[in-house]
Symmetry: D3
Subunit: 151 residues, 6 copies
């Protein structure tokens, strides 16, 4: 039985910090296979060595997807507050390399009621942070959430 | 040896249509494991049956990632025009269910030169389209691209 | 940054209930590949139809492993209370079929201090429960845990 | 410690029959991701329905690879008789569909000594057989094998 | 066609030694994704470096599962003697690190008939052994097995 | 919508060069799990060190499968010219090690019409080439292809 949280259980400025994951070559290989993204910068070490990156780097969309998942484990897996993900605005800021370790610092940045009394919209900023404390990606998530039933 | 294309090889209004993929239960299971997103709407058939969706639906971020990969196979895997993905603006429009088949219709929508003569920015709109012809996601991709070397 | 919990933060009788997972054919295929367990009762539909099970059933050890993981998401991923898993006593009670949905109900059943002041042992009973409310496995986990530092 | 078998431990006409595997949609999805073969006949149910096959079929090269693996489990995993696989001659005879169950019937068909006293060549015919008893593929494997050390 | 062995084909004291597997980072990543066990000692290199282990270690339950699979390849895949796995008693003795190579030494330790003439119970001790010859886990498996049909 | 090419769109001597993939330990682990090929030369680093190879090498059949997939991305994913793969003749020439990078150079070597006016047979030679420019495998593919409809 999942314990429900509601729109009203979060407030602007609330922050959440997730567990971390070390990015491995295995993540890149599995990601490419699942999403069809075999772009040589991620999969061809000879080619990557000739680029400004000097080596294979993680797929940017994987970092986005992981930020969604890390926050799922921190909060959403145990409290099904979300009705639907409406979209994201993603900014890729720095490359992530094999061996880097990333986690998410999330913050509620906007809340607004809708015309439907049982739904509310919230905007959360997920910052993906590497082991040096650098923000490598900003992912602004837009959610439709359950509102608390009124008597 | 990858054949290079350049910023100049694309023009506003150019369109590309990818091959299609049928979304399976196996994609959902692998996606959850790779990204840590075990949210019950995607992974718990009993719970999903109680929601407005009536059944498990594909993770929205998977559709985004797949749109990136499908266009990789259509164009980027063979022509390394891209220096870096700078980010995306994603709008999730309709749910995708197990058994649905999706592909991407992509269009170049903006191009602008930068202060660096070897780099240019392009905006591409990737529309994810299901087997009924419905647009289920709009993913606006922002790329830094190689410009053609000048004599 | 992981928030630590300690041996002292749990008491005999505390219970935890996890999110659920629907077991799919894809789980069986991935499990076999990762663990080398291609036993025909799990992988050969023709053979399984001739047994008392009538169809392929989930690998019992997968249910054990999943119970460990489901409780990880419920509690341990966010609070690193555990130093080491010392072992388990597992009783397989009922088969789990493709399409069944399972979760864990966990309870602290024993606690004991050790000769080392910074370590304590706890026994937790993880009951794996299917969508009908039946207990399909009992997994008694033995943990070495961090004790709260004393002034 | 692996127990060694030698070239001399096999004779022309020796046969081996493996355990079976039911081919699932999950095998097709994992195969495509690992080998980059997203050809629509295997991955796009809408397209496949318009072909003479009427539905997605298993990748032929997967059946070849599986025949190699099924015989590995039957014999080679426990007896390291093989120095190297020198190549194969493969004939694809019938399509395999999701839900079909296949195993291998293998036979030693040729043996010849080489100029090196510690090496011998053997040819094995691996027939892939479906649940109806039909031969769906013939895979003729050529091996360099260890010869028994002479006093 | 699987060749059947029976309860009567094994005797107390019979031993079996399996092939070996080198544990890789890829096993840890796949295991976490399949079982949901993303505990930082296994997945976060920065965190693991601060623990007494000094580095990421393999999930204990993976070693258990692998011991089941390695014995499947040694014996059970080719002889379907087992009706059901009734449970295990597992003792985790030493950590296993990325790069370690493990195999199983198994021994029949108990046999007893049951009230049903076609079923017998056997207890097998699976010792997981690393490349230094150290026993890292003891897994006592309890099986319900087919008995030989009586005339 | 896939754009069709036909038998007539290819000519003897046409060549195609694919993107490259760096072979990783993760590929070997996933391959073994999917195909059941856990032969110790590929999976047991301790054993491999005692062989003439000195280290684990990639499964030969994986290189074959990858050659099929790399050409799929280069050509077939976007142009469904192929009705069926009829078989292959494979020669394994040199071992491929973890960290090697391979691509395919393909050439049309034979074409022949059949008695059916809508089908033609083509033979393509796929050479797998490593980062040193060495041909490590020759894979001669036999295809049944669509012929151009006649007025």
């Amino acid at each position: 039985m999942i314990q429900r949280k509601y729109y009203e259980d979060y407030q602007i400025g609330d922050t959440f910090e997730t567990a971390s994951l070390t990015i491995t070559e295995s993540h890149l290989v599995q990601w490419a296979g699942l999403t069809q993204d075999f772009y040589p910068l991620h999969m061809d070490a000879e080619y990557a060595a000739t680029t400004v990156m000097k080596e294979r780097v993680a797929h940017g969309p994987f970092l986005f997807a992981l930020s969604v998942g890390q926050m799922c484990l921190k909060e959403w897996i145990n409290y099904d507050a979300i009705i639907a993900w409406l979209g994201s605005d993603i900014k890729m800021l720095k490359p992530v390399r094999i061996g880097d370790t990333v986690h998410v610092l999330a913050e509620v940045t906007e809340m607004r009621e809708t015309s439907k009394p049982h739904q509310g919209i919230q905007i959360w900023l997920y910052k993906v942070i590497n082991q040096k404390g650098e923000v490598v990606m900003e992912n602004t998530m837009k959610f439709m959430m359950h509102r608390k039933p009124q008597e």
